[in-house]
Structure formats: structure tokens, C-alpha cells
């Protein structure tokens, strides 16, 4: 997040869960936290994001059980909410392709600093949407939603994650508002240089499940892609098949996760980058063996950090359960703040919120007994 319009002494954790949203207001030392919530109790909240450009526009991607999906908007940190007048929705059938309906909005991304009010949204099934008025009205964005080639790469709803295939990791290059990335589970990583008028795959170097053809974009399953805040020419990626780094203008992803311990592996969902050091990243490996239990490997959760761009990795588990902890962390549920000693935060599938104030070396539990946590973001209200 950018540094403008912020009060570094007021950090808020935005926690989105399967049953609602919570805000945790921290003090300047990040030692005491005031809980505000639940908001939208009983709603599925997939993402909760504060606009770093104005420090006040808060968007929530919501779905209520079997009701249709929508977006809620607040400009007073959740004291009041207003529903989007036009939530993300696909257009009518086009190009001879079957019509689709948005099941839920999965990912929210504020636009470029020079484009106030612009937001992007990724949905399930895969779709890319844009708002130019701070999230009140959304329209299909770019050609991909109804492009025959992209439709083929999307696969069917049965090809994606258990609750539907997702478009995620929407990234706007801070140096160029026309330079965009997004990723899909499944369907690869894609890049645009023309403000989204066209996209091309960016998957060279990425592995796919053994026996499948890596030249088929639909077989690629990036779980989380992040762009370094301190170096927009460097991207990291946690994939279904390993951890990668890409240094632009290069276009070949390099697998950097092979040095993690064999018994841990380099499979997982979240990936977090240091706000000021492009060599430092954190991941949360999970068990991706055999039937894919999607738990902490061996029931012993740990964060792994690299300080050298992925050449080596260090295990950080101090304070975390030493055994019999079978939760894991979803792709949007781990994040960092911008303090001098970077704070890390993650929410678990078992509803616990953990934090570290020393870049992952020591962990403590901030909250327990929440619903399954889908997303955790940090925010600095203006």
C-alpha cells in the first residue's frame, strides 16, 4: 500500500471470514487491539480492502448463503455501509459462448494512485471487473470475460477450487497504470501492457501437475502472485506446483522453492512480500501430498522466510503450536504491515488470528474462535 494519506500509528487489520467481517484496531505499538465486529454476521466475506489512496473507502466482497453476490462500501470504517448500485455481473451471452453468472466476488484491488476511484474485482467463475466510482458501479472489464480463448483457459466450474474457479492477484504496476497482471486458479498468470485492452499469458517456467502439458494454459494453477512494493520489476508467486520469482523484463519464472525441506515442500497458498526489501518474502507451506490434505505439514504450522530472493529459506515457528495443529492459511489470509520492524499477520482455516512483530521470528495469537478466515489485510486509515 502507498504511503500517502496514512497515520502510521493507526493500523487496522481487516479480517474477512466465512461468517462475517471483523476489524482489529491496533495501538501505535501494535500491542493492544480493539475488536470491532462482527459486520455482516452470516455473510460470506471473501475480501475486505481499504483504499490506500484515500484511506477511507472500504469495500467488502459479500455473499449471503444462497443469495446473489454483492459489494458493500463504507467510508467511515464500517460504522455504516452502502450496497453497490451495480455489483459485478456478467453480460449476456456473446461470441457464441454460454452466458455466465457471477457466483461471488473473490478479489478486490484498488487501481493506480493516479486513477482515484478505480477499483478492480476478480470473480468466481473467472471474470475481471472494474469500477471507476469507488466501487458503487461495476462493469465487465477487458476482453477476457467473453473471449473464446480465455473461456477455454478458464475451464469449467468443475476444474477450479472446491468453491469455484477464481480470478485473483490483480496487480497494477505502480509505475504504469496501463501495466496489469492477474492470475487464475486455474488458468495461469496474465499480463496487459495496454490498460487491459488485451492480455497475454505469462507462464513460461511454471510447472504443472506431472503428466500434464505445460503449454496448455488451463493446466497452470497460480495460487497467489505478488509484486514487490519496493521493486515493481520483481514478482513472486506461490503456485500449486511450487514457489517462483520473476524479474522483469524477463518472462521466465524461476522456481525458488526447491530449497525448502523436502518434508515440508513448497506448496501453499499465501505469499507475503517485505514492504522495503525485494529479497524478503514469507510463505506458509501446506501439505500438498497424495490427497492434498491442505493442512500444516505434519500438524506443525510454520512460516518460511527467504532473505535472499529465494536462494535459502528459514523456518519460523516460535510461538506457533508445536504439534497437532491441522489448520492452514488461505491465499488472501496472510499479510504484512509497513512498520520499521515489519509486522506479519495471518488468519487460519480454524478461525485464529496470529501476528508477529519481528518479521516472523516470534508469533502470538491475537484472536481465537472466529469463523474460518478467508482474508486478512492491513490498512492505515487516513
Amino acid at each position: 500500500m502507498s504511503a500517502q494519506n496514512t497515520k502510521p500509528d493507526h493500523l487496522v487489520l481487516l479480517v474477512a471470514t466465512r461468517k462475517g467481517a471483523w476489524l482489529y484496531h491496533g495501538d501505535a505499538a501494535r500491542q493492544s487491539w480493539r475488536v470491532d465486529g462482527p459486520h455482516f454476521l452470516g455473510h460470506i466475506i471473501n475480501h475486505l480492502v481499504l483504499d490506500p489512496r484515500d484511506g477511507r473507502t472500504l469495500l467488502a466482497a459479500a455473499k449471503t448463503g444462497h443469495l446473489g453476490p454483492t459489494i458493500f462500501r463504507s467510508t467511515d470504517l464500517g460504522q455504516s455501509w452502502q450496497e453497490a448500485a451495480k455489483p459485478p455481473a456478467f453480460g449476456p451471452a456473446a461470441n457464441g459462448l454460454a452466458a455466465r453468472s457471477v457466483d461471488h466476488t473473490f478479489w478486490l484491488a484498488p487501481g493506480h494512485a493516479a486513477e482515484p476511484g478505480v477499483w478492480y474485482a476478480g470473480t468466481s467463475p473467472q471474470g475481471l471487473f472494474r469500477s471507476t466510482d469507488g466501487g458503487m458501479n461495476w462493469a465487465p472489464f477487458s476482453c477476457i470475460n467473453d473471449d473464446p480463448q480465455y473461456r477455454q483457459w478458464f475451464g469449467t466450474v468443475q476444474d477450479g477450487t472446491p468453491d469455484g474457479p477464481k480470478l485473483h492477484s490483480i496487480i497494477v504496476d505502480p509505475h504504469d497504470a496501463q501495466h496489469l497482471y492477474f492470475a487464475m486458479s486455474g488458468g495461469g498468470v496474465h499480463e496487459s501492457r495496454d490498460g487491459g485492452q488485451s492480455f497475454v499469458p505469462l507462464v513460461d517456467g511454471m510447472d504443472v501437475v506431472e503428466g500434464f502439458d505445460p503449454t496448455d494454459i488451463s493446466f497452470h494453477d497460480p495460487h497467489c502472485v505478488r509484486l514487490c512494493p519496493s521493486n515493481p520489476d520483481r514478482l513472486y508467486q506461490q503456485n500449486h506446483c511450487g514457489i517462483y520469482r520473476l524479474d522483469r523484463p524477463g518472462s521466465i519464472w524461476v522456481r525458488i522453492g526447491r530449497n525448502l525441506p523436502t518434508e515440508v515442500g513448497d506448496i501453499g497458498f499465501p505469499l507475503v512480500l517485505h514492504p522495503r526489501d525485494d529479497r524478503t518474502a514469507w510463505v506458509f507451506p501446506m501439505d500438498g501430498t497424495e490427497v492434498w490434505p491442505r493442512t500444516s505439514p505434519g500438524g506443525r504450522p510454520a512460516v518460511y522466510a527467504t532473505r535472499d530472493g529465494g536462494s535459502s529459506w528459514q523456518r519460523h515457528d516460535a510461538g506457533l503450536p508445536a504439534s497437532q495443529a491441522w489448520w492452514t492459511v488461505k491465499r488472501q489470509a496472510m499479510t504484512a504491515d509497513r512498520q520499521d520492524s515489519v509486522g506479519l499477520y495471518f488468519g487460519t482455516t480454524s478461525g485464529e488470528l496470529w501476528h508477529s512483530l519481528d518479521e516472523g521470528r516470534q508469533w502470538s495469537c491475537l484472536a481465537r474462535h472466529l469463523p474460518e478466515i478467508y482474508a486478512v489485510e492491513t490498512a492505515y486509515p487516513g
Binding site: 444462497h66 443469495l67 446473489g68 450496497e83 448500485a85 455489483p87 456478467f90 452466458a99 457471477v102
Partner: protein
């Protein structure tokens, strides 16, 4: 006509029974949307399909066709099936 709104949508209407007009279900939903902005998309998707667990009852029978004509003095019951944990 009188329309029964399921509890999950009371945040829009503030009450279980509302009055709305329309010669068909589609027209009646248009009126509901006019009165309670946002409510239609929670029940009907962008392709005009009633969402999976929404059920409509009119004259003691379930209806699926949004073009079904409605009588001004009838009652439409909108029900949201509950499932899952």
C-alpha cells in the same frame, strides 16, 4: 399484491410483507427493485435465472417461469431454502 420476503432479505425491506405491483413476476421484481434497490440481484442472476435456493410460490404452487401472469389481489411468497453449515 402482497409479497412475502424471506428473512435474509429483510435488510432491504425492513419487514416480511411488502406491497408490489406487476402483471408478471418479472414486472413485480422490477417494482421490488425500484422500492428496495439491490434486492433483485440477490434473488435473480444477471442471466434472468432465479438463484438456486430461492423458491417462488403463487396460488399454492411453486412457479419457475418469471413470465407467469399475476393477479393484482394475489400473494407471492418468496422463500429462501436453507442448507449448509
Amino acid at each position: 399484491m402482497r409479497v412475502l420476503i424471506p428473512s435474509a432479505l429483510h435488510s432491504y425491506t425492513g419487514r416480511p410483507w411488502v406491497d408490489a405491483t406487476g402483471a408478471t413476476v418479472t414486472a413485480l421484481f422490477d417494482d421490488l427493485e425500484r422500492q428496495f434497490p439491490g434486492i433483485r440481484f440477490r434473488m435473480v442472476d444477471e442471466q434472468g435465472q432465479v438463484r438456486r435456493h430461492i423458491r417462488l410460490f403463487y396460488q399454492h404452487a411453486m412457479l419457475f417461469d418469471l413470465a407467469t401472469p399475476l393477479a393484482a389481489d394475489g400473494e407471492l411468497l418468496i422463500v429462501q431454502a436453507l442448507s449448509g453449515g
